[in-house]
Amino acid sequence: METNNTNSFEPKVVAFVCNWCTYAGADLTGTSRIKYATNVKIIRFPCTGRIDFMLLMKAFANGADGIIISGCHPNDCHYTSGNFHARRRWMIFRNLLDFIGVDVNRIVFSWVSAAEGAKWAEVVNESVDQFRQLGPATSYQKLIKNSEFQEVE
């Protein structure tokens, strides 16, 4: 959790994106000089199919307030079907998190193509707004705090 001068809550957001569509789309956002919130930092993957659900667990365990997952639109995958596999994975995973009481609104899934620089800025800004409204991931942070305590002990 970061706080800025006005003391409003600024969520920590990590974005897992595929190399071919969303990473390139985010490059286009840059070359188009479209502005978006600084909260989001990108980690590059070859394909959404590579994104292990365990990495999302890792992100939450390391204090992420929100996560963005983004890749190629259906039928546009550089590897033809990685995004389809990823979609199935997220369908199951998202429901499981919901079942244990994790607010799935803390994870935003999107398809952003290499041509959608403006969409990437929109996705980032809307997600950050959404995470701001949800506030800090306190329920998870409580667990993190407890775990640190126990490990020191």
């Binding site: 990473y23 490059d27 502005k35 980690i43 199919g49 590579r50 596999h85």
Partner: protein, 667 residues
């Protein structure tokens, strides 16, 4: 211990206008493992690159993070620079603080902080990078071309002319495909066989081409550079070496009433036959289904008359295996069959025929010697109706697509008819006229204006027989949907082009993808039109989607150029960022459980099974194995594998985990 160099680029002011580059460099210098951290105006300039090279040498760096623009921009530049200084290029990473930071945020502390986070993340990644070497796969410089139509012929000649061996496999007794059936071709009206048959002969004569006709692909394994193709040579009941192609057997064969496939059933052939006079090879095969000897056990007239004793009644199918570096699919197309159009009486009335049959009627070498005579009584039709889009663009019939070639050949048919039957009247029912090739629109205009072809924009609802005439009922949408009825002598359907029979089975044998209409899928609709998703397998012509001759030939030459390009090296260099099944010491050997659930995950069929054996050859366990020649590095199997037995170089578990942790935890 890691010794990482961090190089922060100002990119003129592109980065430094919003990011405090000096601060980033200072903070980064204190990251654990960072030996040197500097900032510079233009890192990609020669002096900038030299800074990186000198630092590598001076500090004996184990990794480099260039914090500048997108890796899509300058990753190759800096990786090359590192390689020049003796550092493995895969130990260099780009931290994207321009496109993903300075350009998308205002000047602020938060922007600088984000740049620091990005650099820290990549420092943690690069600490875990491994030195990698490109993968080299040896290439067998032989191409197997499947399908001997104009696409296969053109590609075979191009590849062979480039100096490589070609094995051309054709399912029918002769090469030539549908183009050899055509009368004249649009928009020039030159004779199809006159331009094709010399090429067919070239194929047969070319020293680099081995031709197998009456043959099919039995199985394919291996991968790009090294396919093993097993070809079934169907028995021709003939010793081809002895046969001189004199044709005595064909003349004497007592079974003469078999509808000829080549003539679309309009002509007849014998049981021992060549499909057409210019066939290549011009040697007969025995059609065992119709041959009296195979049905009744006696006849053997052909054997008696054969001057070279070439007939072999007991010949069985045989197999040849070919080692090939690349495969080309050129299996062409087919047209819809009679059962598709009960409303048009196709299959019910002899004088309702399809476009290919009309080609045979119009062909000088066809069953009527080029005279337009209707099949039922041989009369010359006075009124003829052509129905375009018979099946195409008709979602109700399950074919949404436009077959693309019908508009043009229908115009050609009407024109040919008019040229041969001056007093006759040709009508064309059409939906739209799509004439989008060089000289195509002019050709259609000529049909309308010079040859007075009557174009009627509308659909035909029904064709039925009345008093010896075929009544064609339709509407003219340009006359406010007014009903039109034409008493025709003959009807020609421009039936939709569909995938060649057996396409699906072949695609499954070769592991190439295909669409719902069973046409093979290209790797990318724009940028990889002649490649398939399976490396080393290419596409040409109408097996991908219906195409006209110029497009088919262009695609064939394109695919041939790709294959010749592949064959121009002895070794195929591939990016090493691929997935691997991890191995470990005995007794475990690998944590892979051998569940093989990952096999269907791979879009490239790169995963197969590997047996781990002891010294005496006993199988200890069977685990997954990833073929480095096929893996493209998507990593879907990596995320899928439950035992984490598969990892991917360049994006491995350790790297991505460290990135997540570094990104979220300030040092």
């Amino acid at each position: 211990m890691a010794r990482i160099g961090v190089f922060i680029c100002h990119c003129g002011e592109n980065i430094s206008a919003t990011v405090d580059c000096e601060k980033v460099a200072k903070v980064a210098s204190e990251f654990p493992g960072v030996t040197v951290s500097v900032d510079y105006k233009y890192m990609c300039s020669d002096p900038g690159q030299n800074m990186v090279k000198e630092a590598i040498l001076e500090h004996n760096l184990t990794g480099v993070v260039v914090s500048a623009c997108s890796p899509r921009m300058h990753e190759p530049t800096f990786r090359n620079a590192c390689a020049e200084a003796g550092l493995n290029p895969f130990l260099c990473e780009m931290a994207n603080i321009r496109e993903h930071c300075s350009w998308v945020h205002e000047k602020s502390d938060a922007t600088t902080d984000k740049a620091i986070d990005i650099v820290r993340t990549l420092v943690e990644k690069v600490k875990r990078n491994e030195a990698l070497a490109p993968i080299y796969v040896p290439i067998t410089k032989t191409a197997v071309v499947i399908g001997g139509g104009v696409a296969g012929i053109q590609a075979s000649l191009d590849i062979a002319d480039a100096g490589h061996k070609v094995v051309l496999v054709e399912r029918e007794p002769s090469i030539g495909g549908h183009m050899s059936q055509l009368s004249e071709t649009f928009p020039t009206l030159d004779c199809s066989q006159c331009i094709l048959t010399p090429r067919m002969v070239d194929v047969a004569r070319h020293p680099n081409i081995t031709l197998y006709t009456y043959a099919e692909i039995e199985s394919v394994d291996g991968s790009i550079g090294n396919f093993n193709v097993k070809i079934r040579l169907k028995s021709k009941s003939l010793d081809e070496k002895l046969c001189t192609g004199c044709g005595a057997c064909i003349q004497k064969c007592p079974v003469k009433k078999i509808p000829s496939e080549f003539e679309q059933g309009l002509g007849k052939r014998t049981a021992i036959y060549v499909p057409f006079p210019q066939a290549v090879p011009n040697k007969p095969v025995i059609d065992r289904v119709n041959c009296t000897y195979y049905i009744k056990g006696k006849c053997k007239v052909c054997e008696i008359v054969c001057p070279t004793k070439a007939i072999r009644f007991d010949q069985e199918d045989s197999f040849v295996e070919v080692q090939a570096g690349a495969l080309l699919l050129a299996t062409g197309f087919d047209v819809l069959k009679t059962n598709f159009f009960p409303e048009y009486g196709y299959g019910k009335y002899e004088d309702v025929i399809d476009g290919l049959a009309f080609e045979r009627l119009a062909s000088a070498s066809g069953p009527t010697k080029g005279e337009i005579r209707r099949p039922s009584d041989g009369e010359i039709p006075k009124k003829i109706v052509f129905i375009a889009c018979a099946g195409s663009r008709d979602p109700a019939k399950g074919i949404e697509y436009c077959s693309k070639i019908c508009c043009m050949y229908t115009a050609k048919h009407a024109m040919l008819y008019k040229h041969k039957v001056h007093e006759g009247t040709p009508y064309i029912f059409y939906m739209d006229i799509r004439a989008t090739g060089k000289m195509y629109e002019e050709f259609v205009r000529r049909a309308i204006e010079e040859d007075e072809v009557k174009y009627i924009r509308g659909r035909v609802s029904q064709v039925y027989e009345k008093n010896g005439k075929l009544i064609v009922r339709g509407v003219d949408t340009l006359l406010m949907g007014q009903a039109v009825e034409i008493e025709a002598d003959m009807v020609v359907l421009a039936t939709a082009g569909i995938a060649s029979p057996g396409s699906e089975e072949l695609a499954q044998k070769l592991h190439v993808s295909y669409d719902k209409h069973k046409f093979f899928s290209e790797a990318h609709p724009k940028l990889k039109p002649v490649e398939t998703n399976t490396a080393g397998i290419y596409l040409a012509g109408a097996c991908q989607s219906t195409k006209d001759i110029p497009e088919t030939v262009a695609a064939a030459s394109g695919a041939a150029a790709k294959i010749a390009g592949l064959f121009s090296n002895d070794l195929l260099k591939r990016d090493p960022l691929i997935a691997v099944v991890k191995k470990c010491a005995p007794p475990l050997y690998s944590s892979c459980t051998g569940c093989f659930m990952c096999i269907p995950v791979c879009p490239y069929q790169a995963i197969d099974k590997e047996e781990i054996k002891d010294r005496s050859g006993n199988i200890i366990k069977t685990i997954s194995h990833i073929n480095p020649g096929l893996c493209q590095g998507c990593g879907t199997c990596v995320a899928f594998c439950k035992s984490k037995s598969i990892d991917i170089l360049g994006y491995n578990h350790d790297q991505v985990c460290a990135e997540v942790e570094a990104l979220l935890n300030e040092w």
